[in-house]
Symmetry: C3
Subunit: 341 residues, 3 copies
């Protein structure tokens, strides 16, 4: 069960620089490309003639030519040429999807095109604002996408999964404050006068204890954005003064490929010491930290398949993830009723 | 759905030089070998005792000895020895199949042995006629066999799949002439005064335009034989004068292994400049050309599995492949009625 | 269909030296470890919170800490700590299994713990008796476990599967004497004045013919123990005089991982020339001999899957394996009635 009327991250923008990109989103194989005017396009990755994947064809002048018999499609999905004949057979077209190129990511709307509203795409200014230094990557993950959402939303895992980078006792001892919105969940965990996570200590010039925070916004089903960091003790960070603070913004596009595989697009950006390559190198440890997440959710996925009907228990720290899953379930149910109507 | 009362290519003859050969044809695992008199034999690849594959046993004096407990079978499939006892249990036999060694290929009849008529095997004299230089190989292909038949029968794909070897505009602009026979389809495409495919230009001494042709015979379900080439302009090739012509004969044995895997046996032979190793090297590019076919039909197969119920449209150039598929469907239906009767 | 009220070999004892060991037994993923007092423990390999495999967690002071959120379990399977909260949620526990460390193997009872009686574990003293030199190993095998039991119980395969080590004509010409017990089958094959298997000739100082024997005990469903060897002609070995005999004891723990995969634990030990490294090297050929078994049963397994409904015939030599399979079937049926009652 997926939510279709939603924006999903489908690619990093530069992936379209070399021509056609084939990628499966929500079980639907799609070919992405730039049309002649530079606008991006997304079509069903299947020639309507003999089922060849269009993504193994050729991009010619912003049109997609099938690599088997040369049928050609424009960005709307209409077949505009059939070699050897002057007429286009009726029905010769493939589905097209709304797509937007924003914040160096390609976003796709998988549901009713009439409902695709680009203003719903979350603001992730730190991807392309020169005041920020982003580290960005893509992982292919063998798990249901909600397992990867869960691990983002629950910081109590950090001590166990990321002991050398993001782990801290304060994340466990401090209960988070969770706020629900109609189509989002916000969470904040303020950790005054606490031992910071090792990665923050290494990247900042703060020695010893600090005033820390982790805040996130979940925009279901697929995006999580973090505002996290540490500040000098008593420097007023909780009142909004970040002059003595070290802030990172992380963003995650966690897109289902299938029920058991997921695309993970992520950016981790900082706005401090932006010209210091040593800090960039220190912060690049986040890549390994995110790989630790993957190892855990992939092990969890394999185990769920080995124990398909096992009961589970909840603990206090599950409140954010349970609320997030409930919200997605409610949105899917709303969509189901909308579609049935 | 396969046709059973038909000859299929199962192996290249030299593959039996080293003993037992196990290979699955139409989902049936079979062991091939030469009996003591040199005649070839094909048995169910399963010992009737404990299911060990006979192909991992030993060939001894033209008999197959099971590698597990030593039960021995003759070319008729009868068990002729059980170690440790003097009697043969009733029912100790395995199925045998009619087989023929012809044109350097091993042919097997998968249906009613009483209907196996070796005169039905197509004439492919260029495989072993000293006037011809054959290039031969075998590929294992991940597709339904009819996808590989289709790509042989429709030359309009050449421009897109084989742009550097067999592709030509003339194959697209010239409609083929298709002739149906009760158990075959013939097709010819005459291309007078046309730019030849790049491979023919390189292998012949003709510069510029030529009189070209591509003819094939499809003997369902599994064989396609080509007569193709180019001749000097106006040299009378269409009236039968091949003294100024460069001819190749290609043959394909396209045998189902399963519903989604196929054995591809092929030969490409020429009768010109037969002693020139440079021409042999030039013509060996056909191997890569056929690999281009495989890449396409395997991509198509994967896509069919990703879009199991997708509708398709037809174009004018599909006439030969549609007729071929209709013929196979009719033969399968006839066989079904014959079996039911 | 497996027998659950039985001891199965789950691991070699030294495998627990480095911490947690995850292994699937009878389709049930299990984590093995040593508790603080050194006693071994076996728990369901699944945290009851979010399904993470406990085997990718950490062993701390004899307790298992989940690698995801840090829930901690003792050797009884009870959750004893949840980070961030002082109470343990009701139902926070995982299944534990009876386990015994004996003869350098870890034994697990997969059925009703109340019936786990460690005296039922067969005596395999040659594993750890200083008078014996064991060669031991573990193989993962792609077959149903009964196929691997069968090949142990039927020595007539040796001539065909192990022609250079254990094969001998005498094993085929001499019928075995089979004795049934309520929960075991015994078999002996005495081969006086016979050509010994090649491996025994190489390892002993007997040249030419010898008085040979092969005896085994099958303790269903999973263990086979061999007493085999050769003695000087007429030295009275059949009356119990082993002073001129060369004896090996082999033991097999053949444990289902799933319906089509099996754990094979084995030991082959001798009590002659125990300080001669050359003899040890000679005897280590048994490893390759057992690999020959695997190649055969794996080929057999693949073939059974290719011929799911093929009928088989029996031969005289099948008597021991048929009796063994009947005994297992009877025990499973008894267990089924016991469970239903």
């Amino acid at each position: 069960m997926f939510l279709y009327n939603a924006w999903y991250v489908a690619a990093r923008s530069h992936e379209l620089d070399d021509g056609l990109l084939g990628r499966t989103i929500l079980n639907q194989p799609i070919v992405f490309f730039r049309a002649a005017d530079g606008a991006i396009a997304a079509l069903e990755d299947r020639c309507c003639h003999r089922n060849a994947p269009l993504s193994v064809g050729r991009l010619k002048d912003g049109l997609v030519e099938c690599g088997y018999h040369g049928l050609t499609f424009d960005r709307s999905g209409a077949c505009v040429a059939v070699p050897g004949q002057s007429t286009i057979p009726p029905g010769a077209r493939v589905r097209s999807y709304p797509v937007v190129d924003r914040h160096r990511w390609i976003w796709i709307w998988m549901g009713d095109p009439a409902r695709a509203d680009a203003t719903l795409i979350p603001n992730m200014f730190w991807h392309d604002d020169p005041a920020w230094v982003p580290i960005a990557d893509y992982f292919h993950v063998d798990c249901h996408y909600q397992a990867l959402i869960d691990i983002q939303l629950d910081q109590t895992h950090s001590k166990y999964v990321h002991p050398t980078s993001l782990g801290s006792d304060a994340k466990i001892s401090t209960p988070p404050k969770v706020t629900r919105e109609p189509r989002a969940i916000r969470c904040e965990r303020l950790m005054p006068n606490a031992v910071p996570p090792p990665l923050f200590s290494r990247a900042s010039n703060i020695e010893g204890r600090a005033d820390g925070w982790t805040k996130w916004i979940y925009v279901p089903p697929s995006n999580v954005m973090f505002d996290a960091g540490i500040a000098e003790l008593g420097s007023g960070v909780y009142e909004g003064n970040r002059s003595k603070a070290f802030t990172i913004h992380n963003s995650h596009g966690i897109t289902p490929e299938s029920e058991r595989t997921t695309h993970h697009f992520w950016v981790s950006a900082r706005n401090f010491r932006i010209d210091d390559p040593k800090v960039t190198e220190t912060m690049s440890a986040i890549r390994n930290t995110f790989r630790e997440d993957l190892a855990m959710v992939e092990a969890q996925q394999r185990n769920k398949e080995r124990f398909p009907d096992a009961p589970v228990i909840d603990v206090n720290a599950d409140s954010p993830t349970i609320q997030a899953r409930n919200l997605v379930a409610r949105l899917i149910e709303e969509e189901r009723r909308l579609t049935a109507a």
